[in-house]
Amino acid sequence: MTATWAGQRARPGTVGTGTIRADAIPKSRGDFAFSSDLYADGMLWGATVRSRYPYARIKSIDFSAAAVMSGVRCVLTHHDVPGRNRFGLEIRDQPVLADDAVRYVGEPVAVVAADHPEIARRAAEAVAVEYERLDALTDPRLALSGVGPDLHDGGNVVAHHRIRKGSAEPAADVVVRGVYHVGTQDQAFLGPESCLAIPALDGGVELYCSTQWLHIDQDQLADVLSLPLDKVRLTLSGVGGAFGGREDLSVQAHACLLALRTGRPIKMVYDREESFFGHVHRHPARLEYEHGASADGCLVYVRARILLDGGAYASTSRAVASNAGCFACGPYEVPNVSVDSYAVYTNNPPCGAMRGFGAVQSCFGYESQMDKLAAELGLDPVEVRLRNAVGTGSAMATGQRIDGPAPVAELLRRVRDMEPPAPADSSTCDDVLMPGGAANTTHGEGVRRGVGYGVSVKNICKSLGYDDYGTARVRLSISGGEPVAEVHTAAAEVGQGLTTVQAQIVRTELGVRQVVVVPADTRVGDAGTSSASRQTWISGGAVRAACEAVRDRVLRIAAATLGAELSELWLADECVRSERTATDVPLAELLGSTNVDETRVFRHRQTFPLDPETGQGDGHVAFAFAAHRAVVDVDTELGLVRVVEIACAEDVGRAMNPPAVEGQMHGGIAQGLGLALMEEVQVVDGYIQNPSFTDYLIPTTLDMPPVRLSILEIPRDDSPYGLTGVGEPALLSCPAAVVAAIRDACGIDITRIPVRPEIIAGCA
């Protein structure tokens, strides 16, 4: 199947070699066009009118003052949505423009197009919306208990997943309990939401945008705009990071509506503040846990009750809640399981996908519990994890047997056995590397070092019976006397390096040097989403399949031309090589003006929905694992933390582009560190308190420590090249490890992330 002959793999730019991204130089020169950089002649600027209340009935919208402002071209409300005024990834419950009511602060109510962005924003401010305020439901526990208004038909419980395994009344020697909280994290991608929508002559629209999944945007937009799919054509523009925050529609529908109404190109760009209202966040969670174990530290049972606040609309809450439940026990053998995971509607900001997708929240809970159990039993925290770690053949909480690699114990040993960083020494350590950074808060006073561990598991690819596939088209032609392969998918490059991997696969499979990755758009079949750590597996699989089809056709052409047997021909070094005659025919000569063009769809193996009563079933394609060790210096009096080092071990199956794998791990660790220590969208009574980079803090260069990686490559037998997804695992147990290290340093219990200095200093 795969081109296998030796030497080919090692060629530059092929699978497994460190390959420089084709976009790296343009991005470094400022020449790369992000969606916010696009421009079209005659374009107008869109701006959004947003709700000021968490829950209110809209009594009237008066845009007369805005409409007559000089330079304003149109103002649209829900009356102007030609199709279905709803969108959503799982349930189409979210209005494109609010109609009867608003359900969160910042919900779009109207949109404006004007000649200049400042005029558009002023016009948006001039739109007068009369509201009748309603009592907002902002406490997810009330929402779960059924108190308060139903925010949507069918009540406020969006999701309830049950897992029941083994005995309902298991007996354990030791029991530890805990209630944990995870705050709302924001993806905080650097490039705010933006797009350019251009009305087309055929009555359709061309949309250039940042997204994680072109086809699901297209599908929703076609319904909203009441256009056939072929009249809503999307092209991916440069995406300034995603991390889950670009799965849901933001500017797309609004820009298309304005473009179709005005007949002019429409550009929309959110500023940072609007971005905090313009996309979903990571679900805040409350996790109640009870772990029972035998005296020797083997888990007997886990009981968990997980409540996720989904906010005003469903987004991906069902799948996030399912994931939180499925991975509530972590990568451990647990014979008896009782887990209930819920997501509810409230009048808080909508929550949905973010890197880790439910598994991050659970991990903080179960890893905190494992440390508690270790302390209770007087065991080493790594030892208690090793005693319970799953391996290949183990059953997950859902009963699914792990048939792929599951080197959990090995990952733990690797991080444990890494050389520890040098001890803190204020006399030799540069002062900016002490807790508090350059702010001169300690010269060593109060500083204690701690070490903590975490290990984690998450599903890779989509789960629970979802028909998950990717499409790729590969075209081999001769240009300027050289073979050129063109690869075309709709898979979103969001920064992770997907286009580079696609080119690597083509070089590997077809042995050509020149590979052109065509911009992703909807002219080619669906690629699925750039999330769930799935895109290299799925679209990579599709690219490989298309290459195989191209290769097969080339060899058939060669067999016919040369009168040779198919079985004796190889494709290598831009030639067709005959084993028997030891002759090479250059592709340029063989193909001439013939183009070989093949499109293939790739599916991973089938998964199945879980039993609704017991949560048992083969719901997942694959599991990925990561282990972390965090070393921290804590100023125990001031509650300030400096993470000294993070070590992370992960099994990636096959490192397709090793530096890119490392980059994914580094980035995931940084986001995990942020969640542990500083990142929280603070919401009070439905209002975001800190929608800015002044008060929503993400780690800086002085917060990120040196990171030490250990990358295992245990090939899977069910994925292209044996790879597994790498986008998410390095984040999952990072917060748990950092918090464990803080606990170790200062001996206090910490049950909530991000950990605030108040908590560590004991004056909350």
Binding site: A24, S28, A660, G663, G667, F693, T700, M704
Partner: protein, 159 residues
């Protein structure tokens, strides 16, 4: 109002609103979108440019303040020979992922190395603390800085 200044070595005369930022003027009026707009409050460094040889956040400069000034953006660092060594080092070190922070970082690193050809690791961290990156965890950016420092001293760089 009329703004006259030099941008990447070229004389520019354009109409601006006094209160708009140099960032807006560069991106929307001069056709130089390489400088990125990520926070507009000086918190992220994505819009770092040189104004009269000093690294600044273009979002915090009123366009009018650049009158008569000499502005160099990320687009102005490469020359006919190709990318600047800092740009080359970023690409080769894997320091670029989504790339939205990259232009600002390129200018910031260019500035750091022009003042301090071989900065210590702690100095690099402190000097780049105003440039947020959400993708890389900074690790490969530090690699790029060290690599660029070596390249530039080897090339006796210039610029």
């Amino acid at each position: 109002m009329r703004l006259s200044c030099t941008v990447n070595g070229q004389r520019r005369d354009i109409d601006v609103c006094p209160a708009e930022s140099l960032l807006f003027a560069l991106r929307e009026r001069m056709g130089l979108p390489g400088t990125k707009n990520a926070c507009e409050q000086g918190e992220c460094g994505s819009c770092t440019v040189y104004l009269d040889g000093v690294a600044v956040c273009a979002c915090l400069i009123a366009a009018g303040q650049a009158e008569g000034g000499d502005v160099v953006t990320v687009e102005g660092l490469a020359d006919d020979e190709g990318p600047h060594p800092v740009q080359q080092a970023f690409a080769e070190s894997g320091a670029v992922q989504c790339g939205f922070c990259t232009p600002g970082l390129i200018v910031a690193v260019h500035d750091v190395l022009s003042h301090s050809p071989r900065p210590t690791d702690a100095a690099i961290r402190e000097a780049l603390a105003g440039n947020l990156c959400r993708c890389t965890g900074y690790e490969k950016i530090f690699d790029a800085v060290r690599s660029a420092a070596v390249r530039m001293s080897a090339e006796g760089k210039r610029r």
